[in-house]
């Protein structure tokens, strides 16, 4: 059962991701990415990370991708109909080759023989007892409190930056 679900989600994610890269139209790329993200949310649930799954959908599908769609619509980007003027074939080829090399290396690196370090205290039983949300909350607001607070600075900076950028024309 679990394998079946995993395979379904993985397949959807992989195909959708590939589709995102291969689609000509940016809006189809975005839709493919949304699909891939959904599949990934399913994988999170399989991994018993319900909170992450919900937040993942909420943030990525609910906010980030809407923003992408918004920009695509705002700029009215229709599919690239005409062939590119100066298509850099060598460069694209190099990109594919390098990405392939990266994939091979990563796959070699993460084979079944991967060794895990010492285990933490949060096995499934504990999680079920404490509750996934509560456990994550405790770690987030305990051990990682200061980094968490710092992220607010990042968000603030991004907010200010986005406003400044969107308001004024580039010189």
């Amino acid at each position: 059962m679990e394998w079946a679900l995993f395979l379904i989600f993985a397949l959807v994610a992989a195909v959708a991701a590939a589709g995102m890269v291969l689609q000509r139209s940016p809006i189809y790329s975005a839709l493919c990415l949304i699909l891939a993200l959904f599949a990934q949310g399913g994988l999170y649930v399989l991994l018993h990370a319900e909170l992450i799954a919900a937040v993942h959908i909420f943030v990525y599908a609910g906010a980030i991708m809407v923003l992408f769609l918004f920009v695509i619509m705002l700029l009215d980007l229709r599919p690239e109909s005409h062939p590119p003027v100066q298509f850099n074939r060598v460069g694209v080829l190099a990109g594919f080759v390098l990405a392939g090399a990266l994939l091979v290396e990563l796959a070699l690196g993460v084979g079944p023989r991967i060794i895990l370090g010492p285990r933490g205290p949060y096995d499934l039983e504990t999680l079920r007892m404490v509750g996934n949300t509560q456990a994550v909350g405790r770690v987030l607001f305990g051990e990682y409190l200061i980094p968490f607070e710092l992220t607010s600075v990042i968000l603030l900076a991004a907010m200010v930056g986005a406003m400044v950028l969107a308001k004024r024309r580039l010189e």
């Binding site: 809006i27 839709l31 949304i34 319900e50 909170l51 799954a53 919900a54 937040v55 959908i57 909420f58 599908a61 609910g62 906010a63 809407v66 923003l67 769609l69 918004f70 695509i72 619509m73 705002l74 009215d76 509750g131 996934n132 949300t133």
Partner: protein, 325 residues
């Protein structure tokens, strides 16, 4: 395993059936209510009190010609109505209608609801885009900006409730509202969280794209906004999505702020439905009386009034909880 599956499927079927039926008759109810408010009759020809009107409408819509504009993006054009209605329906998976009458009680139920409802915007945005029409595009753009903006205050307005219940599970949140203060006042969140309640109502109204926040389909400016080019059953799906969302929002308001199914004597489901109908009536009433916002007013109101208020509410709730709990 099989029992569980069968029970779940039965529950799903029951809930979906009820919701769809409710959606159909909600259109009738709305026309009636608004008719009354405007001193008209509303539908009255088909069946007694016009009770068969929704069915007649449904049949009519089904047999209309299905038009897809020539320059439209066919796939997305067809997909958009479906994307619109699916989130509106699957929200009901976690809403507790009664003590044990819930399809599934998820640990992160509230987050699930928000995650799912935030997807509703795709239907509208994609419809606007795929129609390849100026009005539709503008409607879609407005809609995405509006929904992203009001989602923030919507989310923040319920943080107080979550803090008081200490859980994201909707069942837990309802349970936390059991009992009463001083024997008379029900222990409903609407009393300590009144500010949050108001913000929730206003923001959810905006999320529903209903008057006075119906900018995406503002007839006087954009013909019909995102669904200008839609007809037949596709059009009907958008309509159903809107009403299903309305029920969903009312159910959420009931669950979060009015103690869900809790109530004396009568069966819980009755109380739940009663409260939901109160909210539905409120939404209709709003539509009938309040004029539409201007676009800049809408944005200013969301960012400069609701969002700060919601933050204040969160802060006060936290402070109060720290002091008294």
């Amino acid at each position: 395993m099989m029992d569980f599956l069968v029970a779940t499927v039965l529950k799903i079927a029951l809930v979906m059936g009820l919701v769809l039926l409710a959606v159909a008759y909600l259109t009738w109810l709305e026309r009636k209510v608004i008719g009354d408010i405007q001193v008209r009759y509303g539908p009255s020809r088909v069946g007694r009190f016009g009770l068969l009107q929704p069915i007649a409408d449904g049949i009519k819509l089904m047999f209309k010609e299905d038009i897809v504009p020539a320059n439209a993006d066919r796939l997305i054009f067809c997909l958009a109505p479906a994307i619109s209605i699916i989130p509106a329906l699957i929200v009901f998976a976690v809403i507790p209608f009664g003590p044990s009458f819930v399809i599934t009680d998820v640990n992160v139920g509230l987050l699930y609801v928000f995650a799912v409802t935030s997807l509703g915007v795709y239907g509208i945005v994609l419809a606007g885009w795929a129609s390849n029409s100026k009005y539709a595009l503008l409607g879609g753009l407005r809609s995405s900006a509006q929904m992203v903006s009001y989602e923030l205050s919507l989310g923040l307005s319920v943080v107080g409730v979550v803090m008081m219940a200490g859980s994201l599970s909707l069942v837990d949140i309802v349970e936390a509202q059991k009992g009463s203060w001083y024997g008379i006042l029900p222990r409903w969140n609407v009393i300590p969280q009144f500010l949050g309640f108001v913000i929730f109502l206003v923001s959810s109204n905006a999320e529903l794209n209903r008057a006075p926040f119906d900018l995406p389909e503002a007839e006087t400016e954009l013909v019909a906004g995102f669904h200008t080019e839609y007809s037949s059953m596709k059009f009907a799906l958008f309509f159903m999505a809107e009403y299903a969302n309305m029920i969903g929002a009312s159910a959420m308001a009931t669950t979060l702020f009015l103690g869900g199914w809790q109530g004396p004597l009568l069966p819980p489901v009755f109380w739940f439905v009663l409260k939901v109908f109160c909210f539905l009536f409120l939404f209709m009433w709003l539509r009938a009386t309040v004029p539409r916002f201007r676009y800049d007013q809408l944005m200013g109101f969301g960012w400069k009034v609701l969002l700060p208020l919601a933050l204040v509410n969160v802060m006060f709730t936290a402070a109060a909880l720290l002091m008294f709990a």
